[in-house]
């Protein structure tokens, strides 16, 4: 055991940091893209604040196409683009690119469904008070959906985390990379098991913290 720790602990620690960096940075960038798209999907819907059938359809189709590409294929398909943006195609920073492309449309749908849960009456009251569609978005939709948006963020982080592990296949860095290099190529099963255990624990923590935060901030409870 001591032997094992001495040999692998530094590497696992570094892998964990890489994984956290990839996951959190990708989640952040994916929200920068996905949140506005989710809002637009709701606003331009036929019952939305500013219905716009054409824009709504185009956004919906783009989101659906991106969401239907399996992540492993996306990972490989975007390699030229990754090289162009990051300058390399291996390591954690390179993995951020496919992660963001895969997660942004997923997040757009999560945001869309969170915002659609908002009571129509509250939106109507704000409209009657003279709020503009933009004011309704940032003063009614987003704040009222806060608990649901936080839960969605927890789902996003954990999903992106598991995707980041998959990127290990193409040398993506982080814990997934270690699991594949040692567990699959070198038959060091115990390294792989420890790596997977760490991933499970991290997912648990994100999920728990997200659920607590959503509940704690929900004034309906």
């Amino acid at each position: 055991m001591d032997e094992f720790l001495r040999e692998f602990a530094p590497m696992l620690a570094e892998g964990l940091l890489d994984t956290l960096y990839m996951t959190l940075f990708s989640t952040f960038l994916a929200y920068v893209l996905g949140l506005p798209v989710g809002v637009l999907l709701v606003v331009t819907d036929k019952d939305g604040l500013k219905p716009h059938a054409a824009l709504n359809r185009v956004l919906g189709i783009v989101v659906n196409i991106l969401r239907s590409i399996p992540f492993l294929i996306l990972l490989i398909a975007v390699i030229p683009f990754t090289r162009f943006v990051v300058g390399t195609t291996i390591g954690s920073s390179a993995t951020v690119v496919p992660l963001v492309i895969a997660a942004a449309p997923f997040i757009a749908r999560l945001v869309e469904s969170s915002l659609k849960e908002i009571d129509r009456g509250a939106i109507e009251a704000a409209t009657a008070m003279g709020a503009s569609p933009w004011q309704i978005v940032y003063k009614v939709l987003l704040p009222e959906a806060r608990p649901s948006l936080i839960l969605g963020a927890a789902i996003s982080v954990t999903t992106i985390l598991s995707y980041s592990a998959m990127a290990g296949i193409v040398g993506g860095g982080g814990l997934g990379d270690i699991a594949i290099r040692y567990g699959y190529y070198r038959y060091r099963t115990n390294v792989m098991l420890v790596t997977v255990a760490i991933l499970v624990i991290v997912v648990q923590i994100f999920q728990e913290v997200g659920a607590k935060a959503a509940k704690w901030g929900d004034k309906r409870l």
């Binding site: 009571d119 509250a122 009251a125 409209t127 008070m129 003279g130 709020a131 929900d218 004034k219």
Partner: protein, 227 residues
């Protein structure tokens, strides 16, 4: 005297189904005007036309002399700030406390935060909920929620307050309290009140005139007052 709300040949249909046809109505400043009719008669539709939550199929709506259907969006938002509205289901913001709910229309109107909070606190006093400023709507009774909604609706000093079945979710005693509050607001601030209801009792307690909607048509009557 110029009416505060006036409709001219107002027609509204949903698809092929006409709900209101050729409605000509004058509501005058300072009065408490009732609208009554069966369920589905088109009362809410009429009230929602007054602030253009619902666009009429044809006809004109004047608010304080301004025709609403031809306004640009920004002008319409401005006009709506002079018309408060309360609802059967209260429609408060559940993630804001009572004080911040009342501040909402003031934020919309661009009132400074400190001034908005001061004004909101005054209004919570008017509706008798000063002690609930920091509470969240989920913790309030129906009657209290409606009081918050009233404070919120009159916070920006509107000329008109539209009440769509404002007491229909409340028990008879609470209904009386809310009606009393509305009468008080009408007297103290001179706000014109439009009461939508299916209960004759509500009309009899408050209104000076009433519009009866039936079969897409509307007839206006004086309300007989005994005492």
């Amino acid at each position: 005297m110029q009416p505060i709300i006036q409709t001219k040949n107002l027609c509204k249909s949903f698809g092929d189904a006409p709900v209101l046809s050729d409605v000509n109505l004058d509501i005058f400043a300072g009065e408490i005007f009732g609208v009554i009719g069966r369920s589905g008669a088109g009362k809410s539709t009429l009230a929602r036309c007054f602030n253009l939550l619902e666009r009429p199929t044809s006809g004109e709506i004047f608010f304080g002399g301004t025709e609403l259907t031809s306004l640009k969006p920004a002008e319409l938002y401005k006009a709506r700030q002079s018309m408060g509205m309360i609802f059967q289901q209260f429609n408060l913001l559940m993630q804001r406390n009572v004080l911040d709910n009342v501040c909402f229309p003031l934020e919309i109107a661009g009132v400074k935060r400190a001034d908005a909070r001061k004004r909101a606190a005054e209004l919570l006093d008017v509706v008798g909920l000063a002690d609930k400023a920091k509470a969240y709507p989920a913790k309030l009774s129906g009657g209290q929620k409606q009081r918050v909604a009233i404070a919120r609706a009159i916070a920006p000093n509107p000329k008109v307050l539209l009440c769509d079945e404002a007491t229909s979710a409340l028990d008879p005693e609470t209904t009386d309290e809310i009606l009393e509050l509305l009468a008080d607001i009408n007297k103290r601030f001179g706000i014109t009140i439009v009461i939508i209801t299916h209960e004759m009792r509500v009309i009899e307690t408050l209104c000076t005139r009433v519009a009866v909607i039936s079969g897409n048509k509307l007839t206006v009557e004086e309300v007989a007052r005994n005492g």
